[in-house]
Symmetry: C2
Subunit: 693 residues, 2 copies
């Protein structure tokens, strides 16, 4: 079906409301979008909706709106559009559509493919689990294990990573586990501690098992016939199975006057104001949290910020494990997988929650509650100086604003947060936790591509490579990407002692993938060359600090490498184009590559003094430890964005001094002599130290 043959709409459009052009779809807009598409098909056509989400207007339309909004001028009208993905249910007919919600017209509605497949969805995954476990052939293989009576077998459907071999059709690779056979009624038994060597492959078209893989469990790729299962111990993470430590005293965070931030709801999006920061929060099925129009003290910084995608390729080269290479956003969705956050569990202190509306597989609405928690936290000392001559110390604490969302992708959790501080800095924090993806291994086997974390359980090495999408608008939309390097000065009359060094700035002229270089202290900066710092005349800028990491290890001819278009460089820069949002491509499930940021960068467009977009990568090469099982302590990554000659002094200089009357700390020492206050007390009581000399 193509755009030409669009049926005239037969449904009334959603009651037109004045929505912000960047506000997520409302529930009526979601159902109306579904209805418009359903109406374009013969009655009773069963559609399986994958995504119904806001089609963001072209930036060229949004910018005048934002200008008018901030200057309180009349707002231009921008038509609301919805983007949809759907299948004719139980077929491979995968469609992409855009509808105009104000007119009810279908603007685009095309059949995609070949080799373009949708993300998984909750209903589908549950159905796949059932299909695998109800298959007679699978039952026959399980029977060979001679499991204790009543044993509950669990099926974890995995995205079928492509290798180009008989994988044109859409499938799931299921991995089987069991609950503790000695405790089969425990629905929260950690089945990842008890993996089984059987792996059914299920077609999403027929919803039938089309192949049963038997897994290698030795040190090579030999496949042995299934033998009776030898009972192994369980390894539970739920608290009632632990002897809990009893010596941890409560720690409460109290804000007696409430929180310092304001949230104003405008339709389906929220605007946050806190400590000179101002931005709009969106939420969608794929990226989850999205920040728009981020400003500090009224000055524009970023047009849009979001996690673009992540890739998790595994190290085991043996069939079918070699296909384990997930894109958790493109294959599943950070929005739809978001946890419903509970007070006092996932955030500490005074918490504000945001809800969201997403679509289900029938074109209905899913009310996602508490998908983002917002709170303030103390981050220790922000700055301090003591004048040793007077003994007077000036010290302020650093307060942070956190927007946190937690996603569960099958076995694994990611805790994702944007963190703002009072020094004009933004951090994107990633915490990796949850349960390792495990597989069966024979006793006494050691392999160099994984770690035995429990008897009979192998946790294979894997990389987590994240791509943060940053669409800068530093004092406007004409920016440049530059990098600084520090180099030693050659010896000369000017540098006779060989100790001098200098910093050299280089402008990135062309779109492409670029890398940091620790030995040169290479630091990338977003810069506006037309706006100069009043103190030193340098262009205003924000620098990017991301932890160094090992790039993707799969070789350049591999499907892993071709598909993971962001995983080979620290930073990608591309000229802005509407609709380009996802570093791994729009459709990552069983993708073949060629549709993501590496391909866009290859257009070799000029990115100097223009509107460009950055994809900032961070990663972990996770070599599992026994300590990572049965659930792993958070591994934390932080990407920092910090002002460089953007302000005319330390932006946190006006934070009130840290004092006891405000902080209300408690002394727990028996004998403790507080400073006698010899140091001159400032009008704001900034004295925190006595003279040293």
């Amino acid at each position: 079906m193509s755009t030409e043959s669009v049926a005239t709409p037969t449904v009334r459009p959603a009651k037109s409301v004045v929505s912000h052009p960047l506000a997520p779809l409302s529930s009526s807009e979601i159902t109306s979008a579904a209805a418009i598409i359903k109406a374009s098909w013969p009655t009773h056509t069963d559609l399986h909706f994958k995504v119904i989400t806001l089609e963001e207007p072209p930036k060229a339309e949004v910018l005048p709106f934002l200008e008018a909004e901030h200057s309180r001028k009349p707002l231009p009208v921008i038509s609301r559009k919805a983007f949809l993905n759907y299948y004719i249910r139980n077929t491979n007919k995968f469609h992409e559509a855009v509808v105009d919600l104000s007119t009810g017209r279908v603007l685009r509605n095309v059949l995609l493919g070949p080799n373009i497949h949708a993300n998984g969805d909750g209903e589908e995954i549950v159905a796949i689990e059932k299909a695998a476990l109800q298959d007679e052939g699978v039952k026959a293989e399980i029977a060979k294990l001679k499991l204790p009576a009543g044993t509950v077998v669990i099926s974890d459907p995995w995205i079928y990573g492509s290798d180009g071999i008989n994988d044109d059709d859409r499938m799931y690779q299921c991995f089987l586990y069991m609950r503790d056979p000695m405790n089969p009624t425990e629905a929260d038994s950690n089945h990842y501690a008890l993996p089984l060597p059987i792996s059914p492959v299920v077609s999403t078209e027929s919803m039938k098992v089309i192949r049963i893989d038997i897994l290698p469990t030795g040190e090579d790729n030999t496949i042995k016939p299934i033998e009776p299962y030898q009972i192994k111990p369980p390894n539970e993470y739920i608290p009632e199975h632990q002897p809990l430590r009893t010596d941890l005293k409560p720690l409460n965070v109290i804000q007696p006057e409430g929180a310092s931030f304001q949230v104003s709801h405008e339709g389906t999006s929220s605007v946050l104001s806190w400590q000179k920061w101002n931005f709009r929060v969106g939420f969608n099925q794929r990226e989850g949290m999205v920040l728009y129009d981020v400003r500090y003290d009224g000055r524009s910084l970023f047009y849009r910020m979001s996690l673009s995608d992540m890739n998790i390729p595994y190290a085991d080269p043996r069939h079918p494990y070699h296909k384990k290479s997930a894109f958790d956003l493109g294959d599943a969705g950070a929005g739809i997988m978001a946890n419903n956050l509970k007070l006092g569990c996932d955030c500490l202190g005074s918490i504000y929650y945001l809800n969201a509306m997403l679509s289900d597989d029938k074109g209905g609405v899913i009310h996602m509650e508490n998908v983002i928690c917002i709170h303030e936290q103390d981050a220790g000392i922000g700055w301090k100086h003591t004048n040793y001559r007077t003994g007077r110390a000036a010290v302020v604490r650093s307060r942070e604003l956190v927007l946190q969302s937690i996603i569960t992708v099958s076995n694994y959790e990611y805790i994702l947060a944007f963190v703002f501080n009072q020094a004009g800095e933004i951090d994107y924090e990633i915490r990796a936790t949850g349960v390792l993806s495990t597989q069966p291994v024979d006793d006494g086997i050691e392999v160099p591509f994984g770690t035995v974390v429990h008897p009979g359980v192998l946790a294979v090495h894997h990389q987590h490579i994240f791509s943060l999408r940053v669409d800068p608008a530093l004092e406007g939309h004409s920016n440049r990407l530059v990098y600084d390097e520090a180099h030693p000065m050659p010896r000369s009359d000017f540098n006779p002692h060989g100790i001098g060094y200098y910093v050299q700035e280089t402008v990135v002229e062309e779109s492409g993938g670029y890398d940091t270089d620790v030995d040169k202290n290479r630091v990338f900066k977003i810069q506006n060359n037309n706006v100069r710092n009043p103190v030193n005349g340098k262009p205003v800028a924000y620098k990017i600090q991301a932890p160094a990491f090992q790039k993707i290890l799969s070789d350049k001819d591999s499907f892993n490498y071709k598909r993971s278009e962001f995983s080979d460089h620290n930073i990608y820069v591309v000229k802005y184009r509407d609709g380009e949002l996802y570093a791994g491509g729009k459709y990552t499930n069983q993708s073949r590559g060629g549709t993501g940021v590496r391909s866009w960068a290859n257009r070799k467009e000029s990115v100097k003094d223009t509107d460009f977009v950055l994809y900032i990568q961070a990663g972990i090469n996770h070599i599992p430890r026994v300590e990572d099982f049965p659930v792993m302590p958070c591994e934390i990554l932080k990407i920092h964005l910090k002002p460089v000659n953007f302000f005319d002094r330390n932006p946190a200089l006006d934070v009130p001094p840290s004092e006891q009357s405000f902080n209300k700390s408690v002394l727990v020492s028996e004998k403790h002599h507080q400073p006698s206050g010899e140091g001159k007390v400032g009008t704001n009581g900034g004295v925190c130290c006595v003279p040293k000399l």
Copy 2:
């Protein structure tokens, strides 16, 4: 004077008390040590004491003591010794001595030198300031500036970094500044915003100005005659000079049942117990905080941990700036420069303070109060997993124990902290803050080795290179250093798709300097090859995660490089020797090199399965921003030590679940629907999410 000619002691030794061999000197031990040394000289000899501190007993003597201590056996008696450094006042006669406090005997008392000089001390620095400002020649140069009447000129004495040119004698290089001439009575005016081009050099022997350097203020090394000063604006950091923001609400940390840690005082040292951690805290003039005998759940981890030294070389190659290369521990002392921490200013929550006793220049005692603050903090989610089938989430928060000390070294501050968590991890956190070291610059000048941060003020680029000394004792004192690297597998029948990778472990055989390699994901581990993990049989280990940084930029023939013996590698490993503690050498002031860790490493001793010591480096190449002035927001570095196959599962598995009844969070959303609790509630109420599917 040599050990031979030691006078028979004429003073009674300190009343013998049963002190722990690692406990810092008591006040009576300090005064007694001074008295013993004074008695070894003719009466009325005026001694200028630099250091009187514990001479730690040989490790071979301490280990049996610790064994007996932990097994509650009778404790062997170890004699208490003091280490001293002193001058015959106003001479260059610098001595090193060791005395036995129980017998009162002088064990060692030798004249040092040539080219061995002591650290600065507070009394001396104040005297140098005066000497510089009272000099008629200096006054004459200042007069040429024609400063407004009443202007207060400030002198900042700087350690005279050596360049081998006429620097055999001990000197200070003073840099001059002034308070805001429009507000000369403000004792806390930020004089670093108003630097002057005059730099007197003062001899510590004569306490007289021996040279007056005029500073280059252009882009080259031309020295211009001093001209009348053109008034520049001030740039104050003290709160009464700021329009303070008014929209920050209080945030209090309350521990209604008190803190979870216990401190027991044993003489002058303190033993801390918290969440299975147990260790002894010491404090001395040079290193400040020192941790001894660090154990987790009764298992030995580290014999000793401390900051060994730091080096801050500057990028300006012009005389006399090329000599700016400070060793803040060796040249000054992290203990003696420690801030007196005030409740509610420097720590938030329930705080316990530790005091310390150090020595003054006359052999007396300085009572240093509140030099370490101890508190717990919440560090967000520690681990979480949600079973998407039942919707049940298990989540625990991460609680941390912090030992924090803050030092002021003239213009600059370092906030230094050991941080322990419940997953068996130790972080060493460094926060760099305070005021940039500034120098005068002509209007309109831009230089590649510094940044103009205020009119007339140049902040030169500089490196901060820190060296953390870690003396491991992982399940005993026979350990090895290894590193893991991740490598792609070659294509083969085993790896037909080119995606496989493996981890290879290499043993470090010989003492030396070693580097990380991000592209190989090289990670160093401390390992005990004789103790195996019960789950997978791998040797128990702790891994080291330190941020990548640019090594020292001064060339290999420079004094900077020769003196900074730790600054050229990420990690140094040397065989343990008693008395080797300081990575830059025992005496760093005007040092010439050859006495630090690089030299020890060159002994090329075997470090495999023996007692070795690590020096772990971390660093910042600080390219100043306008945002770093007048006081800089903290730049944060963290070195992580994490268990690898040391435990038999996640050590934080037994942390009680995060629940509202314990955390007492507050809801600030107007309308907020909490999960209905569909998910099965565990006996410990671990449910924090509702079913997703």
